[in-house]
């Protein structure tokens, strides 16, 4: 009797679980549950022994650190869901910060310099797409080259030296380098850019075309979608986002260094993939990319709180990334087993 009741309870639990799964499916936008758990777990792991980690100041700092790479990761979600990867994002980011700083130093208005940085970044991004179309190779291959070329150009222009001596009192640095309602401006950018790109990705024609190219490029061509055109548009968007991030970085640090952005591309790709955007294309999640970036940032600052030697940082980051992916996929697998619903 007892066993029977236990069994029926288990059934009820299972039924409830399935129902929840269905509801999630119907809401359709909650694929990031696993990742949220990972973030919460990390938070506990760091905050319980070191409560100062959840101090508003350090949370704001954490978010600001996330912002610079997070903004770029949003663009990468678009690319990866098209089954493409751009490895030159770190280089473009560095290029923008360097060029804008150099222009300001040579007397240009910082606003103009920032604008020039944004425009050149979009063009460099678009260049990746154009080259990929003309040479008929994936963007990742083109960007292996442009990554070095763009970073190299920034090195040449700056002579390999850090660029300092910005006019700190200028409105550009005051506005972008400040806080609004206690939150740094880059974080506001992160939130607004993320929200806007999320809506575009999910609810506009542009986003739907990107997703349909990613899910079956041959079928997309077959209904007359001009794939090459969209490839250029998305790489230009990624370039622009690198530009935004570069400009914000310059405004915040009021200096630039030609070594910034090195290795950023791998961090960004890792964040997007941890976030649940499939490398097989067709699906992507902006919220996931943000959470993925957050996980990476949290590991970085958590290690500081634990006083772990810098030599360990890279190792621990790698292990935690794999663990986060494993957790996320386990939960997803269970959900797809219980619900056939599919969100667009």
């Amino acid at each position: 009797m007892k066993g029977g009741r236990a069994a029926s309870q288990a059934e009820q639990l299972l039924a409830a679980k399935i129902a929840t799964g269905r509801r999630f499916g119907r809401i359709g936008r909650f694929d990031e549950g696993g990742l949220l758990l990972a973030v919460a777990g990390l938070l506990l792991l760091i905050a319980v022994p070191h409560p100062e980690f959840v101090d508003p100041r350090s949370i704001v700092t954490l978010l600001r650190q996330t912002a610079f790479s997070g903004i770029i990761a949003f663009g990468m979600v678009y690319l990866i869901s098209m089954v493409e990867i751009d490895l030159s994002v770190g280089a473009i980011y560095c290029w923008v910060a360097t060029v804008a700083a150099l222009l300001i130093n040579s007397g240009f208005d910082p606003w103009l310099a920032a604008l020039a940085g944004l425009v050149s970044a979009s063009l460099l991004g678009a260049l990746n797409g154009v080259l990929a179309n003309v040479l008929d190779v994936p963007i990742i291959i083109v960007s292996l080259g442009t990554l070095s070329a763009i970073h190299g150009a920034a090195l040449i222009l700056s002579g390999g030296r850090a660029i300092t001596g910005m006019p700190r009192q200028h409105s550009f640095f005051v506005w972008f380098g400040s806080e609004w309602l206690g939150v740094p401006v880059p974080v506001w950018f992160l939130a607004s850019v993320g929200l806007a790109l999320h809506v575009v990705f999910r609810h506009t024609r542009f986003g739907a075309v990107v997703r349909s190219i990613g899910s079956n490029i041959e079928a997309a061509r077959f209904i007359g979608i001009r794939v090459g055109r969209y490839r250029v548009m998305v790489t230009a968007l990624v370039g622009l986002l690198c530009g935004v991030s570069g400009v914000l970085t310059l405004a915040f640090f009021k200096a630039s260094d030609p070594s910034i952005g090195t290795g950023l591309e791998l961090q960004v790709v890792a964040a997007v993939v941890i976030g649940g955007t499939s490398l097989a294309g067709g699906t992507g999640t902006l919220l996931g990319a943000f959470l993925g970036m957050l996980v990476i940032s949290m590991i970085g600052s958590g290690l500081v709180f634990y006083g772990v030697s810098g030599n360990w940082a890279q190792f621990v980051t790698g292990v935690v990334i794999v663990a986060a992916i494993a957790l996320d996929r386990t939960i997803k697998r269970r959900r797809t087993a219980t619900t056939p619903m599919e969100s667009p």
Binding site: G28, F206, A208
Partner: protein, 522 residues
């Protein structure tokens, strides 16, 4: 030119070979006999059991009943390797070469008889076989970089290197040019003179008649008992034997296929498709052709007859080298697929999985893809509720059974997937619909539904061009069937002339200027 070859005693005999797939009988007590030094042509319509018979002979399938006798001994072959060791080689329709490996590596990987000889000798042998086939390539050439025809020849060479005593060729010429074909036929005659027994299967009836010494005609899994002397004049009789009585014209109106009322061309408002002096690519040449709206126009022809090129031109995937095209929408020949779709051309492809659908996307996204992504009918912001409504409407109209339009297209059955492809293009409101084997791989019930759908689209004033590899389907569904032979258009078949028999005969009439002679006798 059939010099009497030195015939040997029967080399490979099949006795009462029966093979069932579930409740379907693919081969029903088929007797088969192949002598050394003989070319045995196997003929039959789609699904008659040709491929199954070849696979049984090559050891790829074990028959449920019946014996195989090789050189007087009953043999049981459990695999193709087994058959290979006994001197039976199969050149199959699906190319089975490794594209990343070189020609030499592809030869070595099957372990030819010569594998233990020194490499120089092996290479010389391989080169000799290749040049016999007219293929002058380096053995270090990567197979993936060869043309389809050359790959076919390499595959044949690989079979020859095994020095088989029985060689089975399944559609060996489908990827070959005229000159390559005649060279292959020469090689086959050489092999025959050397005493090799050859089983030859091809859709090209004339080709089989040209090379075969004896014929085996299969129909619905059974061997047609009549003995046929392979001669050109027998082609109409052969077609009758292949098709049996399936084509009875009176039957097609009664069995739920489109009735005469729907065959009338009186459709509201549609304009015709007009081609004038269209030439190329390949040998396609259409001096003047007008296709009326409101009817289902069948297109038939053998591989390489120009139908693929015609569809590619109309869909903007290829350019004609001359002539003018006026689409039903009044626009000229499209210069890209994008332009074709904008000009109201819809293309329902045979390769559903590769180009027809985004299987990982939802039903709703697939259905609204052309309409909202290419024709931009729904504006910049796409509302889920709207596309759900559109998709639900289409699913109801086309009887697509699904619990939710947000399910992945991959979760549907083949027939329902194909209906999604239809739905997606109907949603685009086309004026010209190109159908390429639209019912391939779907069950009989779904086939019928699809024919209804195709007719309802024609009834709205669309120009409908339907290609099918099944002549019976064309005869049953279409108002008339246009026949392509070597890139040119023959007199279309309609009315009483439009039978499966007529279509197959007309497709195979190369030399004759018109097909009327062969269809008149029906």
């Amino acid at each position: 030119m059939k010099a009497e070859p030195q015939r040997h005693a029967s080399r490979l005999i099949g006795r009462g070979i029966t093979k069932r797939f579930g409740s379907h009988i693919a081969l029903d007590r088929v007797d088969f006999e192949l002598a050394g030094g003989e070319v045995n042509g196997v003929l039959g319509a789609n699904g008659a059991g040709k491929s199954t018979l070849l696979k049984v002979l090559a050891g790829a399938i074990r028959p449920d009943e019946g014996d195989l006798v090789l050189d007087g001994q009953v043999v049981r072959m459990d695999s193709m390797r087994h058959a290979n060791e006994r001197g039976i080689a199969l050149v199959s329709q699906e190319l089975s070469l490794f594209p990343a490996l070189t020609v030499r590596e592809n030869f070595d990987i099957v372990g030819t008889k010569t594998i233990r000889r020194p490499r120089a000798m092996r290479d010389a042998h391989a080169r000799r076989v290749l040049s016999e086939l007219g293929l002058e390539i380096r053995l270090s050439h990567t197979v993936g970089r060869l043309s389809l025809g050359d790959r076919q020849l390499v595959e044949i060479a690989r079979a020859l290197l095994q020095e088989p005593r029985v060689l089975i060729l399944d559609e060996p010429t489908s990827a070959l040019h005229e000159s390559e074909k005649s060279r292959l036929l020469t090689v086959i005659r050489h092999l025959r003179a050397r005493g090799v027994g050859i089983v030859y299967v091809s859709h090209f009836l004339e080709e089989v008649l040209e090379v075969a010494d004896t014929l085996v005609v299969l129909r619905d899994g059974k061997r047609v008992p009549t003995h046929f002397e392979p001669a050109k004049e027998r082609l109409p009789d052969l077609v009758s034997a292949m098709l049996g009585e399936r084509f009875a014209p009176s039957g097609r109106l009664g069995d739920g296929a489109p009735g005469p009322s729907r065959r009338s061309g009186a459709a509201a408002g549609g304009k015709p498709l007009i081609l004038t002096g269209v030439r190329g690519p390949a040998q396609l040449s259409i001096p003047s052709w007008t296709v009326a709206p409101g009817e289902v126009n069948g297109i038939a022809g053998l591989v390489g007859s120009g139908i693929e090129e015609l569809f590619a031109i109309l869909f903007g995937a290829a350019r004609a080298s001359g002539g003018t095209i006026e689409l039903p929408s009044g626009r000229p020949a499209p210069r890209s697929i994008h332009e074709a779709v904008e000009s109201g051309v819809a293309f329902i492809p045979a390769d559903r999985k590769r180009v027809g659908l985004a299987l990982e996307q939802s039903i709703a996204e697939n259905i609204s893809a052309v309409r909202s992504l290419v024709q931009k009918m729904d504006g910049l912001i796409l509302r889920q509720r709207d596309s759900e409504k559109v998709a639900r409407g289409r699913c109801a109209a086309l009887k697509i059974k699904t619990t939710s339009v947000w399910r992945k297209a991959a979760t549907l059955s083949g027939g329902n997937q194909q209906k999604i492809v239809f739905a997606k293009w109907w949603e685009a409101n086309p004026s010209l619909v190109l159908l390429q084997d639209p019912t391939r791989g779907v069950d009989v019930g779904a086939k019928r539904e699809m024919h209804e759908i195709i007719w309802s689209v024609a009834g709205r004033g669309c120009v409908v061009l339907m290609y099918s590899s099944d002549p019976l389907e064309l005869a049953n569904v279409c108002t008339r069937v246009h026949i392509f032979v070597n890139g040119t258009l023959r007199v279309p078949l309609e009315g009483m002339e439009l039978t499966e028999h007529g279509v197959v005969s007309a497709m195979n009439q190369r030399a004759l200027p018109s097909n009327r002679q062969t269809t008149g006798g029906l």
